[in-house]
């Protein structure tokens, strides 16, 4: 199969790659770009472990083709912190023990950030529905929801 040449922006950096036309953006990010923080849990858009944003929209990287990233802005977990400073969501996930095995964590962080960008003061119900596309099998979601609440508070304080 002939490869497709793609020029895109990943976490603010210009990136070029060649991939088969039928290769998912998830495989591209993991296997060609080396961003293995994006996880594969199902490959069918059901688990959210590969959550990224594409031009700011929350998507499952397994449901997007690598070729579709042409000219667009991709953000992954690797682009979340600011240098050595963790994003408040990352900080609160650690402080609230919101992760056990941690394989779903990158997806949850991206989805939670997407929520808080839109809605800085979500209710518990809004958090639960916004994160319903991300599966976690370890925590029962309790500490994840608390971490998102705490991070939302931190972010609101930062803005003041």
């Amino acid at each position: 199969m002939t490869g497709v040449h793609v020029s895109t922006s990943i976490n603010g950096d210009p990136v070029e790659y060649v991939c088969p036309a039928d290769e998912s953006l998830l495989d591209v990010l993991r296997d060609r770009v080396g961003l293995t923080g994006v996880k594969e849990g199902c490959g069918t858009g059901d688990c959210g472990a590969c959550s990224i944003t594409l031009d700011g929209a929350l998507v499952c990287a397994c449901l997007v083709l690598g070729a579709e990233a042409e000219g667009r802005k991709v953000t992954t977990i690797e682009g979340m912190g600011d240098g050595e400073k963790l994003h408040p969501l990352q900080r609160q996930f650690i402080d609230n023990a919101a992760l056990q095995c941690g394989v779903c964590t990158p997806g949850f962080l991206i989805a939670a950030k997407s929520l808080l960008d839109e809605n800085p003061d979500p209710t518990v119900e809004e958090i639960r529905y916004a994160l319903a596309g991300n599966l976690c099998r370890c925590t029962g979601y309790d500490k994840i929801v608390r971490a998102v609440q705490a991070a939302a508070k931190d972010l609101r304080r930062q803005k003041k």
């Binding site: 594969e40 979340m80 095995c101 099998r137 370890c138 925590t139």
Partner: protein
């Protein structure tokens, strides 16, 4: 050196603190490396061809076209995996499960594998492998498999001298059931079913294997037990154990499912045949179809009681579907069934049954949740018949220290009564319920285990400490073990860094299963630290030029004692470490132990549900877990285990199930149709940690990982039944089953 492992009741300075986990930053930044996150130069992609028949004879496998595909470096069938198991039935079952030999035994059974330079070439080659099957009759239901004339899953399996799908029969208990039933004022007989569920870890099985022509190899793998994986792979492939180095990656969930090898021997065999590194990652469909779920069950319960609430006889028989190979699932269930109660007459029969479904693997307190569903549902109904509060009814029959357990031995100090008292006194029990809402509670038991363990503790030149353990960290154990090392040494938590060692860096460590990680590695760590302290005391004595017995260790420093030396300023761990080279070399402590004496666990749960009578949908409104931890080393992660186990139990109770078609094929091998609980399905899960020390651990640790998956099936069953006024006896209590139960009851 032998150390005394008895509980001492020591006061803790750092144990019990909610500290930051050492793997936290890596996991929130995407840096943590899991099974599929490792790569090697020149690696190949390995893929497996799987059966789409439930049961068939393999007449012929033609791989000639696949071998000719450009980029294909190795094609593998069972012919490449000679039987080296020397009559070991367990190993042989694993070999056959990893790659079918004469027959495929379930939908998804591996029949061939390829390794190629890229995924599309490997996929192309798989399509060109031609397998000629002769279809055989199949059976997937546990009750059908026991009927006369049922297709035989293993024609060589016999029960009472005759070919049968029954592969095991285990009885536990004491007293005389018939006599006990005669004493009863009331006898209830009920039957129940539970469907097959999967552990559902988010990270699929994945590994990277290398084997050279010199017989040496390496395996990077997501596993709960890299030492056990090494033994298993070496045995199946005829390798020397010492020449296979297995490194456990970060593990993205296991819950029992990663105690067993599936693709790993295949990856190693492909790597050996191609002499190239081979990476294999299961798809989610493969995880569902071909890695170990837990059993489906069918059971009958009979309990007799007096009017005052005394149980006079308790009987259960539960049939477990093992997949195509005999397991010990009925045995484990039988040992746990009545463990919460003090019973004069009790009997539990666990039966193992072969069916054409995937080979079952352990799932968190394996086999206990099913029998607990039958036992706790029937006990609830009995309490209602006798007009006794269900918690009070359980308390009247509760097991205590000194009770003969239903599985045999007499109990030491145990926590079932305190969990029930905590439930009785919990404000949750007095919260108001509205229309279509119901409350239920249930209790559960799990053993916990110990096993072979060793830990290495090395003091660095700057006085910081590396702890290396061989038990895979599945839920935050590195934080707990760092706390334990810091506690013993008398230094702060942030001065200790715990790592999981690979198989070449430590002696054998049993798999992290049976809630044993913190119990057994905790024990090995305490004693390794104490040995390091002895070394440091001797170094301090040298530095001072005084006898070793004039040195004691307190609060992270050596102190000279006695009238003669008491005025010497103390030497800190850091100061002693800085002089290590001049006083005899590196400072280390090491301990290896067969950690026996694990303490049993009990949990009691409360839940409130609302059932929509129109749709049959159940919403969990409130959930409370009470469990005895022995000692909570890191309370955050103890709560996390309680909450996670409860959530898995809730999924099992309400939604999760393997659905098989008439053709014997799995119809819902994906997260869309096999629905695990999502964030919007669950409420906050309240927890209460009880600490009844295990007398056989220096810190009183029991192990916390499994027990809380045992009560939810029955707790929810009781709550749903109280909400709708009709008893639910089939798990999962999915909307169609609830609607049918309401219909049948004419409600």
């Amino acid at each position: 050196m032998k150390h005394d492992q008895k509980y001492t009741g020591q006061e803790f300075k750092v144990v019990g603190a909610r500290v930051e986990r050492p793997d936290g930053v890596d996991k929130v930044t995407g840096r943590a490396r899991y099974g599929a996150d490792a790569n090697a130069p020149g690696q190949l992609v390995g893929l497996v061809l799987r059966s789409s028949h439930a049961h068939a004879r393999i007449v012929k496998i033609d791989t000639s076209k696949a071998e000719k595909v450009a980029g294909v470096k190795a094609v593998l069938t069972s012919a490449d995996l000679p039987d080296l198991t020397n009559g070991d039935a367990g190993n042989y079952a694993t070999l056959v499960n990893c790659m079918a030999r004469d027959r495929v035994l379930y939908d998804g059974h591996a029949v061939a594998a390829v390794a190629a330079t890229d995924k599309s070439s490997a996929k192309k080659a798989l399509k060109l492998i031609k397998v000629t099957y002769e279809k055989l009759p199949h059976v997937t239901d546990v009750d059908e498999a026991l009927k006369k004339g049922a297709p035989l899953v293993q024609p060589t399996n016999k029960q009472d001298g005759k070919p049968s799908n029954k592969s095991g029969h285990f009885e536990f208990g004491h007293g005389d059931i018939e006599a006990g039933l005669l004493e009863a004022d009331i006898v209830l007989e009920r039957s129940y079913k539970t469907e097959q569920t999967h552990q559902g870890y988010i990270e699929p099985h994945a590994c990277l294997a290398t084997v050279g022509p010199d017989g040496s190899g390496e395996l990077w793998v997501t596993t709960q037990g890299h030492f056990s994986f090494r033994i298993m792979c070496a045995a199946l492939l005829g390798m020397d154990v010492a020449k296979l180095k297995v490194t456990s990656s970060e593990i993205g969930g296991g819950f029992g499912g990663k105690t067993h090898v599936w693709i790993e021997p295949v990856a190693l065999a492909l790597a050996r045949k191609s002499n190239r590194p081979v990476k294999m990652v299961m798809s989610r469909e493969e995880v569902f179809k071909a890695s170990g779920p837990t059993c489906a069950t069918s059971m009958d319960v009979k309990i007799g009681a007096k009017k005052d609430g005394t149980i006079t006889a308790a009987f259960i028989e539960c049939r477990y579907s093992d997949g195509p190979f005999p397991g010990i699932w009925g045995m484990l269930g039988g040992m746990t069934a009545w463990a919460c109660y003090d019973l004069k007459n009790c009997k539990a029969v666990g039966v193992d049954v072969l069916v054409n479904r995937p080979k079952v693997a352990a799932y968190r307190a394996p086999s206990a949740p099913m029998m607990a569903f039958g036992v706790e549902s029937t006990i609830d109904q009995l309490a209602k018949e006798l007009d006794i509060d269900p918690v009070e009814f359980r308390l009247r029959n509760v097991a205590k220290e000194g009770t003969r357990s239903s599985y045999g031995p007499i109990y030491g100090p145990i926590g079932i009564e305190p969990t029930l008292e905590a439930v009785r006194d919990h404000p949750h029990m007095r919260a108001k319920l509205r229309k279509n809402q119901g409350r239920g509670m249930a209790s559960g038991f799990w053993f916990n285990i110990g096993g072979q363990t060793c830990s290495d503790l090395n003091v660095g030149v700057d006085g910081t400490v590396n702890l290396t353990v061989g038990t895979v960290d599945v839920g935050g154990a590195r934080a707990s073990l760092s706390l334990i090392a810091a506690e013993e040494l008398g230094i702060s938590y942030d001065q200790v860094k715990t790592n999981i060692g690979d198989t070449s860096s430590l002696g054998h460590n049993d798999t992290t299963e049976g809630s044993r990680g913190t119990f057994s590695s905790g024990m090995a760590t305490i004693f390794a630290a104490r040995e390091a302290i002895e070394v440091m005391k001797s170094r301090a004595a040298q530095m001072w030029g005084i006898p070793e017995d004039a040195v004691e260790w307190k609060d992270g420093e050596a102190r000279a004692v006695g009238a003669e030396h008491g005025n010497l300023p103390a030497l800190s761990l850091k100061e002693i470490a800085a002089e290590a080279g001049a006083t005899g070399g590196p400072i280390a402590g090491h301990h290896e132990v067969t950690a026996d004496g694990s303490g049993v666990s009990f949990a009691s749960h409360i839940c409130d549900v609302e059932v929509d009578p129109e749709t049959g949908k159940t919403t969990v409104l409130r959930y409370t877990v009470v469990q005895d931890a022995g000692k909570a080393i890191h309370p955050d992660y103890v709560e996390g285990q309680f909450q996670g186990a409860a959530a898995q139990g809730i999924g099992w109770a309400l939604n999760e199930e393997y659905v098989y078609g008439e053709d014997g094929c799995l119809q819902n091998a994906g997260f869309l149709d096999y629905r695990v609980p999502v964030c919007s399905d669950l409420p906050f899960i309240d927890t209460k940690i009880l600490e009844i020390p295990n007398p056989n651990h220096p810190y009183g640790i029991r192990g916390v990982g499994e027990c809380s998956i045992v009560p939810p099936l029955a707790a929810i069953g009781n709550a749903v039944s109280n909400a709708v006024g009709v008893r639910l006896n089939h798990v999962p209590m999915s909307p169609p089953r609830i609607l049918k139960a309401l219909d049948d009851a004419g409600a």
